[in-house]
Symmetry: C2
Subunit: 379 residues, 2 copies
Amino acid sequence: MTPKISRFFAEHRPATPCLVVDLDVVESRYQALHHNLPSARIYYAIKANPAPQILRRLTELGSSFDAASIEEIRMCLAAGATPDRISYGNTVKKVSAIREAHELGIDLFVFDSMEELAKLAEHAPGARVFCRLTVENEGADWPLSRKFGTTTTHARELMLRAATMGLRPYGLSFHVGSQQTSVTAYETAIARASALYRDLQDEGLDLQMLNLGGGFPARYREDVPTIGQFCTAISQALTEHFHNDLPDILVEPGRYMVGEAGVVSSEVVLVSRRGGAPTDPRWVYLDIGRFGGLAETEGEAIRYTFRTPHDESDPDHSPCVLAGPSCDGVDIMYEKARIPLPNSLRDGDRVDILATGAYVSTYCSTGFNGFPPLAEHYI
Amino acid sequence: MTPKISRFFAEHRPATPCLVVDLDVVESRYQALHHNLPSARIYYAIKANPAPQILRRLTELGSSFDAASIEEIRMCLAAGATPDRISYGNTVKKVSAIREAHELGIDLFVFDSMEELAKLAEHAPGARVFCRLTVENEGADWPLSRKFGTTTTHARELMLRAATMGLRPYGLSFHVGSQQTSVTAYETAIARASALYRDLQDEGLDLQMLNLGGGFPARYREDVPTIGQFCTAISQALTEHFHNDLPDILVEPGRYMVGEAGVVSSEVVLVSRRGGAPTDPRWVYLDIGRFGGLAETEGEAIRYTFRTPHDESDPDHSPCVLAGPSCDGVDIMYEKARIPLPNSLRDGDRVDILATGAYVSTYCSTGFNGFPPLAEHYI
């Protein structure tokens, strides 16, 4: 938690549950990535957190944007970004959305199927397009490989077809999976993409871009490689496979940019030993759960860090099941991997959940069980 | 789909995705349950669908309400229900919510732990309380047994304590799990609860109520027992275990009351063979997915029925993976159990998803990937 966020909590005591995001952290993350990978253009993955305050700050810094929908494109434009800084990065787009994006001046679209390519050719004629490859997502806590991307063989065929359909086959992309903690995932993916890239150049296509996707991790509970380590591995792999003829490199960080910038403040609603016996597991119910924003605790995939007022004063910690406040049986965040929390924890205590700036606010339900959406503060 | 909903679609062609609910179905469900189990008071589980139109219609019919939060209590009161018709049915309640409910005149609260009982004693003194028992959830597609309820032994102890704390130990409850398709689940649970009930009466407690919870299923793809079959089994079990000395019976239907009253209309965004080969699986991406409201497709638990314009004209159907429109890798609804859909299905086609009146609208995210919340029409 940054001093600025601590101060905000102390001064304002905002009602829980709420998310507080320190925009200076977002800025320093942008600068760190820019510094470590100066040859890359940064396309912020808006879906991680589309708050206007974040989009405006990043626009001022010179960032570009990776949009998942026409609504996100409109948000970027409203934040001051010009269309040339926006990539329509969802392989699945409505025809009406493609048409509107094209009219708004968006000129960069992803695809991974013949069917999507046909839609782009018809509704965004002349646009630059890039094909998403499926790559290994090993090492990622939130894999993305089944739903998106295609094989190298199929991508090759599609890129060659694109050229005949009035589109500009512009480049290739991949995604190593979200919360990727292995630097070698990028090396392997770059090797695969570069082989196809050169192959397509040999076929006469004027490719210019390689999009490395997102995936850079936030630090939740365990240490993760630094952005410097990722960028060193990426730079080496690019040099190894492209030598002095580097394509334009795009990166699409989301979680890395905003994850650690945010803290959710919640309240303990109940601590109970539901069986009554001291050996029964202690259940801690917070006023936020899987449907209040912490959706990435599904399958206990993302493992947040919890801070309580008793962490230092109470030496006795014991493992707890952590659940949300709703009447839903699946609204349990951690049960297999229990969370050690102070034995003195009780209802009414505040619990801060660290590194919750990304993939929290927008997952929140509109009003499940009557609970209102998560309040957000950008400072 | 009811004629009324068909007519609404034909006349209004509402933008997708949207949910249309026929309030007459809700009314007929209420009447059918009331007819089949006349001795029971019906507490509609608001969380299934808290639309004011539904709450008003049920209020007029004489329904009572099972609320999961103080916000849901306020919604009921706004719909015209009096406090004596509202049960605060979440075992996990904020102190501030208990206090407000008590001040509003709510006099019926559930609990399943000593800690919650202590909160109720302090902030809702004199209130009627009932303890939730854990029962088998076998046969339920959406189980609720791990997070809520306690053992018979512990419940006995808690109910006896309640009497010494200035509360009125009023009854017992259980929940056989949501989308419960086995009538015997109720019989087993009634047997267990009745034994404790009589035991507590022998200890001198003036118990008056048995709350059978919810769980009655909606018909999704497979046939389910009729409400008549459930009610016959319940009546027989009640007679067997309570003879002529029946307690007040409460039921908390949610899914049963509104599930089949609603239809989601969606649009196909993309149909693709992502590998390109005819043997590769066909992926159908709709403009609604797990984060647009169809959250109960998690683990492919709830299996909806899909209707397309080609169902009858095209005899060739083949199994599809069904996914939502977001860039999220977990936004896949059915992959293991593939959905047979017409081979002529293509982007732009409307797909109606039946029996989506319950547990859809409120699960919807506030704006994941920029997609706006589900539009709702109550007719």
